[in-house]
Symmetry: C2
Subunit: 318 residues, 2 copies
């Protein structure tokens, strides 16, 4: 990019987020210099959003700035980590100041909520894509890994499932989605506070990006377990519950983009976990349990049961 | 991508680099978990390479894997940091196994040289682009910042300048470049060892990616100084020296892509720095000094002098 475009982007980048004391050197040198507090380890995750794959060309830039950061923060949440720093690689077809201003507004507002400082990145000209890396603090003993689940642990999920997938379906079929559903798709809320709270209770955790059955499959595979899902217990918004009542369970089971947390808790820790979760104002729902036998059993409300495997969830997809 | 493509990439990613003891959890969970050694801070840098902007579609994948990592390692070198971890976001038009194998071969060979472990990343389908973040260790007192230069400090540069730019010019004009020049453009060698050695001597440092005058401008701006460059002292390969002898100084002054280190050293530390550099087998050349007056003075071999400013180097570009 030309010097003036570069300066424009530098301006938006360097003023995007507030300064943290653990950032010894931020944007503007060859590297950022960062200090991890004593007693903590670093959790990092990187995700890309690519135009035409994860969003459409006419996507609202502010929502995109929010979502690109939110999906990364959701990975920190699933680890129980405290967000600290973020890097942003933006590839843009042109230095469109209005687009950039709105994108950074969405990005910065969510960053501010989580005291996240933008410490570096890169901007290049090319087809629109966004790659973000988030960095957070966690104690190694407290980190919520995928592989700590044991047979008998209870399975919980936060929030409600399937609304983002329903928004996508409505957009495909009718060109637009109901506003409350669109918000779930365009402005997911990463469950950072819940994740940090769960470090004292959960045996394993994962965030729901691919869909419940697929992500539960990842958790089971890492834990060396199977799972039983009680579909009557799934937390569903009315519009999603309606589709399920008509026999179509794809939205909550395979819809993806929920960015809620799925986690397992040893039975003896469940009461204390629930007390802490309620006291902190979160909403979680027990939806099943881990079992010793590999594979996922879906227990339907009508008493019917079906077996699934981590590799077999694709037939649920739209 | 489909599950099998995803598994293919996971295979290449998870076997790409050797395990380090400071990686508590690598690829495969929601986050990687990393431990910075006591007494050290973390240096991070992120760079993107985009097809059509930084490389052509028919670029050799192995060279591309090398270069994408090398330009990032060059930023760690410029900070004097010890490389540790790397993340890789790959956007690919298709899951081309041959391309991926060759790309990862170039990437992994350079990573192994620097004991760098691949700890995470993302793969998506879309126009080819590569975003890499490198992470290294450095003491805050020892870090080579851009802004520590003072008037009177001597200016040095490693290696030779302008060969990558000459390779680009030959490719544009003749379709191909001389092999030794092409190697400078396609397989830059990040000066990691030299950078770490300089932490005891240099007052400021930057790596040469934009071209000597532009990057010197960044160093001067951060240091609050100007600089005087003795062009007769520039370390030049014969083919570049020939162009300069004919009056065209653009290759070494504005060519870019050299990935050598430019650094300033207080006069009283120069003898010890040179002794250490020679003992470690590096090649550096004194090319001028920092001065109190802003702007860059170019002193030509024929006695002519011209003034330049950090913002004024664009007219040097091809």
């Amino acid at each position: 990019m030309s010097l003036s475009e570069f300066q424009l982007i530098q301006h938006y980048f360097s003023t995007a987020t507030a300064a943290r004391p653990d950032v010894l050197l931020g944007i503007g040198d060859d590297c950022a210099l960062l200090r991890v507090p004593a007693g903590f380890d670093l959790a990092v995750s990187m995700d890309s959003l690519v135009e035409g794959r994860h969003f459409l060309r006419d996507a609202d830039p502010e929502a995109l700035g929010h979502k690109a950061l939110a999906v990364n923060l959701s990975d920190l949440a699933a680890m129980g980590a405290e967000p600290a720093w973020v890097t942003l690689a933006l590839t843009l077809p042109a230095a469109d100041e209005d687009w950039l201003r709105r994108f950074m507004a969405g990005f910065s507002a969510l960053a501010a909520e989580h005291r996240l400082q933008l410490i570096g990145g890169d901007t290049t000209r090319g087809p629109l894509s966004i790659t973000i890396q988030v960095h957070g603090f966690v104690t190694t003993a407290g980190a919520l890994r995928r592989g700590g689940g044991r047979p008998g642990d209870r399975l919980f999920v936060s929030g409600t499932l399937g609304e983002a997938a329903l928004a996508l379906r409505q957009r495909r079929e009718a060109g637009r989605a109901a506003p409350e559903l669109a918000a779930r798709m365009d402005r997911p809320i990463p469950q950072v506070g819940l994740g940090r709270l769960l470090t004292g209770f959960a045996s394993a955790a994962i965030d729901l990006s691919d869909g419940l059955v697929g992500d539960l499959g990842h958790l089971c595979e890492a834990s060396g377990t199977g799972a039983r899902l009680e579909l009557a217990s799934l937390p569903l918004a009315p519009a999603v519950a309606l589709a399920c009542a008509e026999g179509d369970w794809r939205l909550p089971l395979a819809g993806g983009d929920d960015y809620e947390l799925l986690f397992s808790v040893p039975t003896d820790k469940v009461p204390a976990m629930l007390a802490a979760v309620v006291a902190d104002g979160h909403r979680v729902q027990e939806i099943g349990c881990l079992v010793a036998t590999p594979g996922i059993t879906l227990a339907y409300p009508d008493g019917r049961e079906s077996e699934d495997t981590p590799d077999g969830f694709d037939h649920f997809r739209d």
